[in-house]
């Protein structure tokens, strides 16, 4: 069964460094998403992406964040200058339609020291 994959599974970085989290969505899906989950808290929406542009973003998704689909298969989340409070699990998701089920990847655990 097709699934969303994410790399790396765990990323450790120093505060102020840039990180790029990578995702390969399900191949025929058109809508892509990033969510995050701080330890012990809810899963929170960050951004959705369709047709090579951001379709919706949350207040969390400020100028430090950016997303890109550099080729036909990858979808990336970049955090320009990481802060301690960016430490969380970051989940990529994809769906065939905007109103379809969103399928989640296994997540990248980001630890900012």
């Amino acid at each position: 069964e097709p699934e969303v994959t994410q790399t790396p599974s765990h990323q450790v970085t120093q505060m102020g460094q840039e990180v790029i989290l990578r995702c390969v969505p399900i191949s025929n899906h058109l809508y892509f998403y990033w969510y995050r989950q701080i330890l012990g808290q809810k899963v929170e929406f960050l951004v959705s992406f369709y047709n090579n542009e951001i379709s919706e973003k949350s207040e969390i998704f400020d100028d430090q964040f950016s997303v890109e689909r550099p080729d036909g298969s990858n979808f990336t989340l970049k955090i320009r200058s990481t802060k301690l409070e960016d430490s969380a699990m970051y989940f990529c998701a994809s769906s065939g339609l905007a109103t379809d089920t969103q399928y989640f990847g296994p997540g990248t655990r980001l630890t900012v020291l």
């Binding site: 969303v4 998403y33 899963v43 929170e44 929406f45 919706e56 109103t99 089920t101 969103q102």
Partner: protein
Amino acid sequence: SQKIEQNSEALNIQEGKTATLTCNYTNYSPAYLQWYRQDPGRGPVFLLLIRENEKEKRKERLKVTFDTTLKQSLFHITASQPADSATYLCALQMDSSYKLIFGSGTRLLVRP
């Protein structure tokens, strides 16, 4: 803004019993309501989706109901098994929005 509450942080039941989890929301009815399972350190796994105009959906041992008058969804696992032990998340999607709004989840423990 839309708020979601899931009935309890944890639910502890005996194997073979039916687990019933509750999701309540405020304000407007969502277009879609979804239930996910999450194991520790893993991503949410989709279980069931129910639309605003649907009352009930079933899949194997799972059943979800949606009552827009009560602003509530119930999620049932019948003949529960220890392997069903996990956190169950309720998520709403409003019309004309792409995002899922998640509840904080209910941790289910099924004792053998």
